[in-house]
């Protein structure tokens, strides 16, 4: 300590480190970008090697190189590296957002054609290949009921399972459960559908249906539950582990029993994260086609009873309409896809708002 202090003091004042540094002017980055794009355009169109995409890619590379060179010249190496990395990170962000924006744009522009009241108020019952109208009412009902029932099954089960693993599970048994949950995460949706078809539709449902197997929305909900459960368990588990141990100890030290600590301190603290995980699971389930096709069978008419007869769903509706020969079908498929995305979005926003209301505003 003392030696460094004295060495600082003995340094000549001219060499004293200054806090100021030369900076590139504010317009430099924009100027370099413009120059890079111009250069790239001149090269690409001059040699006739490609189109606008190549111009942007080449321009970006030239921009990075130019920025590094200029910053290195004026501001020094550290700052040049800093600028290059910031530019790279920003371009990664743009790259990630591009496909998303493109999907949204495609959905909105193509889905707008059939975005009318008819679409939301009628089903496909008695709609032939030459009829321009027809709608997805039955599919919306199906999706809401199937996903709703699946959420009713998985959310309590998944959260309880995660609580067991994190708070109570010790040794082999908990490890085994974790392992099976991991394995379940990898189950393809068609396998989940086949499992429910073999187990529920063909073996169990005949008991309630005079010996005949019965397709139903409930069977689809069961298949979706198989898919949702691991997501809910794993995300809840991660969130519970993030709750700091001193919080639990704080509650224990007040003489609060363990179960009450979990219910009143740990779960509320982890709630926003748990909600996010549940919404991810719901979004995934709402987009599943194969299991619904296998065990609910689809159908053109409105069926409000999830326990009897065929039901459709939005994802299945998209699949069927996209493959339909009618020239009115593709427009229906696009609008149904837009509806599905909007539905998931609305559910997610609503859930987040609810979860936030429980927390105190900071």
């Amino acid at each position: 300590m003392t030696t460094t202090a004295t060495s600082h003091r003995t340094r000549p004042p001219a060499q004293q480190p200054t806090l100021r540094a030369r900076r590139l002017p504010k317009y430099a980055a924009a100027a370099i970008a413009a120059a890079a794009l111009l250069l790239a355009a001149a090269f690409v169109y001059g040699t006739g090697t490609g189109g606008p995409v190549l111009v942007v890619v080449l321009g970006a590379l030239l921009y990075l190189a130019g920025l590094y060179a200029a910053a290195n010249r004026v501001e020094g190496r550290r700052s040049a590296r800093n600028r290059t990395w910031s530019a790279l990170i920003h371009s990664a962000f743009v790259l990630a957002v591009l496909p998303l924006a493109s999907v949204v744009w495609t959905l909105v522009s193509k889905g707008a054609e059939r975005l009318d009241a008819d679409f939301f108020l009628t089903s496909m019952n008695n709609i032939g290949a030459r009829d321009p109208n027809g709608g997805a009412y039955h599919a919306i009902v199906g999706t809401l009921q199937q996903v709703g029932v699946a959420a009713l099954i998985t959310v309590p089960l998944g959260i309880l399972c995660a609580i067991y693993i994190v708070e109570y599970g010790r040794g082999r048994f908990a490890a085994a459960i974790r392992f099976f949950v991991d394995v379940m995460t990898g189950i393809p949706s068609i396998v989940a559908g086949l499992f429910v078809l073999a187990f529920w539709v063909l073996i169990v449902s005949p008991w309630f249906n005079d010996g005949r197997p019965s397709f139903s929305g409930f069977a689809a909900a069961l298949a979706l539950s198989v898919l949702m459960l691991p997501t809910v368990v794993r995300s809840t588990e991660e969130m519970l582990r993030l709750v700091p141990a001193p919080l639990r100890e704080g509650a224990y030290a007040l003489g609060v029993p363990k179960w009450k600590t979990i219910l009143r301190v740990v779960l509320p603290t982890a709630l926003p994260g748990i909600v996010t995980g549940v919404m991810l699971a719901i979004a995934r389930a709402a987009g599943e086609t194969a299991p619904v096709l296998l065990v609910a069978g689809g159908g053109a008419a409105i069926n409000f009873n999830p326990f009897e007869n065929n039901q459709s769903s939005l994802a299945l509706f998209v699949y069927q309409q996209a493959g339909d020969a009618s020239r009115y079908a593709p427009a229906r498929a696009w609008t149904a896809a837009l509806t599905l995305v909007a539905l998931v979005l609305i559910l997610t926003v609503a859930a987040k708002l609810l979860a936030r209301r429980n927390r105190l505003g900071r």
Partner: protein
């Protein structure tokens, strides 16, 4: 109602690591006992084994016996929550519940143990907050989140939370390390008040504080890193600070070691 605490041959482990070994000491009712010693010598560990908080950590365990008014709290048929309700604890780092408001934090112990009456809760909250010297600072924002307070305020909030349930023994792990001199004095005043009815054990690195507030002082130390902490000397505070019986204690108190 104050409790007499008797530790005999208390040894505590974190997994295979032995943190404290063979601690023997008796804490008389209605006294303040200070635990002092260098960092890492096991003061917190010993304190946490008194209200069975040590065993909460995975792999941690306690051997030996700890009795409160002749009941061994490590007996098999003892209800842990009853022990902890009787022996409250203020932690080394403040840990207010982040989802609860200031008011809810203070009455958390009462509420989670089944007290519902608003009037009782209001009264208990005000009394506890006044004792912890926090009432004037928070009385206008009881509904605001407890995590939005400053570090020292959070610590006083945790002290208020602990005394709101009126435990018979209060364990405090460096309660004043984040507090300004005024709040420190308030907490020391609080200890004098609580002493009328309760037993207090406090860990502190502040020698003056130990000398000011405690009746008895226990000095812990370790030989070298990796060794378990041991109780070196335990006597009246006056004696420890004026005429310690062990050389090591004297070195520590006078600042020649540790």
């Amino acid at each position: 109602m104050a409790k007499r605490i008797e530790a005999s041959n208390v040894t505590a482990y974190y997994g295979a690591f032995k943190a404290i070994e063979n601690i023997n000491l008796t804490v008389e009712p209605k006294t303040v006992t200070a635990l002092i010693g260098p960092s890492g010598c096991g003061k917190s560990t010993f304190l946490r084994s008194i209200n069975r908080m040590h065993e909460v950590l995975p792999g941690a365990r306690v051997e030996g016996s700890l009795t409160i008014d002749d009941q061994d709290i490590y007996d098999r048929d003892v209800d842990v929550t009853a022990v902890r309700r009787m022996i409250g604890m203020v932690f080394q780092r403040p840990n207010p519940f982040p989802t609860m408001s200031i008011f809810e934090n203070v009455v958390a112990g009462l509420r989670l143990n089944g007290v519902r009456r608003k009037s009782i809760l209001d009264e208990a909250a005000e009394r506890a907050l006044r004792s912890a010297n926090l009432w004037d600072e928070v009385k206008d924002r009881l509904g605001k989140p407890g995590a939005g307070l400053s570090g020292g305020q959070q610590q006083r909030l945790c002290i208020a939370r602990t005394i709101a349930v009126e435990p018979q023994v209060v364990l405090m792990d460096e309660p004043c390390s984040a507090l300004d001199p005024i709040s420190t004095l308030a907490i020391e005043d609080l200890m004098f008040q609580l002493k009328d009815k309760f037993t207090i054990i406090i860990v502190t690195h502040n020698m003056q504080q130990a000398a000011r507030v405690s009746d008895r002082t226990a000095f812990f130390s370790i030989e070298k890193t990796g060794d378990p902490g041991r109780l070196i000397e335990y006597d009246n505070t006056q004696k420890i600070f004026s005429n310690p019986g062990v050389k090591k204690t004297e070195d520590y108190i006078t600042g020649r070691f540790g």
